[in-house]
Amino acid sequence: MLSFVAQRILKGVIVLLAIVVLNFFLIRLAPGDPAVVMAGEAGASDQVFVKQLREKFGLDKPLPEQLFIYVKGVVTLDLGFSFRQQAPVAKLIGERLPATLLLTLTAFAISLMLGILFGTFAARFAGTFLDTAITVFALIFYAMPIFWVALMGILLFSVTMDWLPSFGYETVGANLTGLAHAVDVATHLIMPAMTLGLFFMATYTRMTRASMLEVKRLDFVKTARAKGLSDAVIQRRHVLRNALLPVVTLAGVHSGTLIGGAVITETVFAWPGIGRLMYDALLQRDYNLLLGVFVICSAMVLIFNLITDLVYRMVDPRIEFAS
């Protein structure tokens, strides 16, 4: 197993470097000059000023040279300097990453727990009203855009009922500490995490339900039933365990998509994570910051995929690690 993990990490680093190179060129294909954006209204009309900015940030150098400088930096764990925010990229990402991890991991947990729970119930009571209700519930959240769910949530829980805060990570100016601070953050987290989680919950519900119904029809389930095992044991030990494999695969794939959803969720709820940092960097053509966020997100996807493979092995020990 150790050699498997080591190999995967090595491959991951190579993939990451390939991603850096690809992203480097892709971003530069987008129209829009970072020096002009940086210069602002008055500065952009001044040719000398824009030229100075280009020189200052090395944007006047040939592309291969810029790439070489950037990759050299990444290899030595230096993600460069943000033109726009005038601060090291690693520092900017470091400030925002914890908030995104908190949001995405909570949303991930909510979506998996609720998805598997609802899917199991729907499969267990297939064809009943409960099954239909769960399916419709899941479909609604799958079909609705994340920003719409977010706005409706704000309208209902913030404006109308005044139960939950509509924006931010914590109550600004309250200066809470310890448990009170944790509760405060949790209160702010509920709506964004649910908004993001419910979308993915819908997928897992549908997947779990379909997969369980399929496994239920297999011979080994009939054998288990013939052996006289209770229905609960069959569902838990035999059906669910086997039915979870595609859900785990999907969850691994979704680890990257979650970040995409976080961009929208973080924007609507003013959640101070890297999703928003990425969005701002894109609008400002802040190349280094954008590349930095991509590198971190890609690394996260690779790590999630590795974890998925390990979980796969835990769920079904018959799966061997290819070395």
Binding site: G32, Q85, Q86, E95, S166, V172, P272, D280
Partner: protein, 516 residues
């Protein structure tokens, strides 16, 4: 009561609120929205709108400007101009200290001028007329100009020429100076904390030189990226002030009607944002003056003002906003007249060639405006194709002259020499750059008028020159002027005296107080 009338009344109420009659109370916290998050707070290094709004509390300029754009004392307590209009002597206020306790002196002014020439594009342009700056003593600064420069007394507000602490910046790499992230100024509020993505916190400067000010203890600038979420934050009482442009314009009437809410359109006199359509004069049908005039007649600008901008703002008459110096409305008029537009197009021989329109990617209001203009132009037979871009992409297209019609709005900075001429003189044609003469208009007479207007004395002479320039430009229609925009500031009525000068919220909250 129609919405517009109600809003008008509210605006009038805000503009004439008798706050001055009351004795200011001290204490309290103001929560205001800042959008988007500023890239930095060091005003000498970064000059975008959000930076100015927050940092106008931390830094100060030598002068402030009244809503009528008359200079007022700030760090300079008085000034005088020589008879030949080439020497400006400023007497600095004594007893002013930086937030770290060091005294503010003429050496700081001299240093700021030199630094700003390197880091601040607008300041450099404004200072181009300066031959030398001297400090005969610690509290006197003398600017000697190469030639008289009419708008010179208008370049000293905090956003255009912020004072920088020499003792913290001299000899350092400006780009990486650690004080960029914890700015030190002379202003009424001191930088305390910035949680990126969440908020910026400023606290009262206890040693501020104007005794008793500021009245407020703290300001929290809340960073909320989504426009709808910003409206909700105000609606649910989490923020007290929505500076102009914080919410979509169509939300303004609804928010204005909320309990204890005051609205004012004041505080934009210095910037006077003017919206227009860049018209590419170089190529295609728009190279013909008659087609450009047809565009002016074809667009229903009253509709745009009343429906898209909720009755806010004013229909523009030409290149100068009515709030800046030397404005005249004695120019050719372009009322909404589709028949006249069609006749002009016919006369010009327009054959339905495709014309590309770039709306401004600044949110829903601008998208809707783009659609309305497209409809207006199609109604008179112009074949319009909308090109969707983001801001950076749009700027590149405009700068590369790869467009036919494009939306924009620009600031005027109180004087035609500072904010108007750059868009029409032929020396400002430079491919790859935006916000200059990207339409490619070239008229030697206009070039001369703007060149003369900047250096003419006295003011009556300048007035004559700029009035003539406005008349010529309005006849030639190098761009299609649309609206003088108004970005209303929405706030709780308990916030008093928030806006007292021509730069509004950007001038800091030193006079503001809370009627608790």
């Amino acid at each position: 009561m129609p919405k517009r009338v109600l809003l008008g009344l509210l605006l009038a109420c805000g503009l004439t609120a008798p706050a001055l009659a009351q004795e200011p109370k001290t204490g309290g916290v103001i929560n205001a929205v800042i959008q988007p998050e500023p890239p930095g707070l060091m005003l000498a290094m970064v000059q975008n709108g959000p930076t100015q709004m927050v940092s106008g509390n931390i830094f100060e300029g030598l002068l402030r400007y009244s809503p009528k754009l008359e200079p007022q004392p700030q760090l300079a307590e008085s000034w005088s101009v020589s008879e030949d209009a080439k020497t400006y002597t400023f007497k600095l206020r004594k007893g002013v200290t930086w937030h770290d306790g060091k005294p503010f002196t003429a050496a700081d002014v001299l240093f700021s001028v030199e630094m700003l020439k390197q880091t601040h594009a607008r300041a450099r342009n404004n200072l181009a007329q300066v031959d030398k700056v001297e400090a005969p003593d610690d509290y006197t600064v003398v600017f000697t100009l190469k030639q008289p420069f009419g708008p010179f007394l208008g370049i000293f507000e905090v956003g255009s020429m912020p004072m920088v602490p020499k003792h913290l910046y001299e000899g350092t790499d400006f780009k990486t100076n650690p004080y960029n992230n914890a700015p030190v100024g002379t202003g009424p509020f001191m930088f305390k904390e910035w949680q990126k993505g969440s908020f910026i916190r400023l606290v009262k400067n206890p040693n501020y030189y104007e005794k008793g000010k500021p009245y407020i203890d703290e300001i929290y600038w809340q960073i909320i990226p989504d426009a709808a979420a910003r409206s909700v934050a105000y609606e649910t009482g989490k923020v007290d002030v929505l500076p102009g442009g914080s919410v979509e314009n169509f939300d303004v009437p609804r928010l204005s009607k909320l309990k204890d809410t005051c609205v004012t359109g004041a505080g934009w006199e210095f910037f006077s944002p003017l919206a227009w359509l860049w018209l590419n004069n170089r190529q295609g049908p728009l190279a013909d003056k008659r087609v450009r005039q047809a565009v002016m007649y074809a667009i229903d600008r009253d509709f745009a003002k009343d429906v898209i901008w909720n009755g806010l703002g004013k229909v523009a008459t030409g290149p100068s906003a009515s709030t800046i110096k030397y404005y005249t409305d004695d120019v050719k008029k372009y009322p909404y007249d589709p028949a006249k537009a069609k006749a002009l197009l016919k006369e010009a021989g327009y054959k339905g060639e495709k014309i590309r329109l770039l709306p401004l990617a600044y949110g829903e209001t601008w998208q809707r405006w783009g659609e309305a203009v497209k409809q207006n132009l199609q109604d008179v037979g112009i074949n319009i194709e909308t090109i969707a871009t983001d801001v950076a992409g749009g700027n590149q297209k405009i700068g590369d002259w790869d467009y036919d019609i494009a939306f924009t709005y620009l600031y005027q900075y109180g004087d035609p020499a500072l904010g108007v001429g750059r868009n029409y003189v032929s020396s400002a044609i430079a491919k790859g750059q935006v916000f200059n003469n990207v339409e490619g208009y070239s008229n030697p007479e206009i070039d001369k008028l703007f060149a003369d207007g900047a250096v003419a004395t006295p003011d009556t002479k300048r007035k004559e020159i700029y009035e003539k320039a406005q008349k010529i430009l309005v006849e030639d229609v190098p761009v299609a002027w649309m609206l003088e925009l108004q970005f209303p500031t929405i706030m709780r009525c308990k916030v008093k005296n928030l806006i007292t000068t021509g730069i509004g919220v950007n001038d800091g909250f030193k006079d503001a107080w809370l009627d608790k």
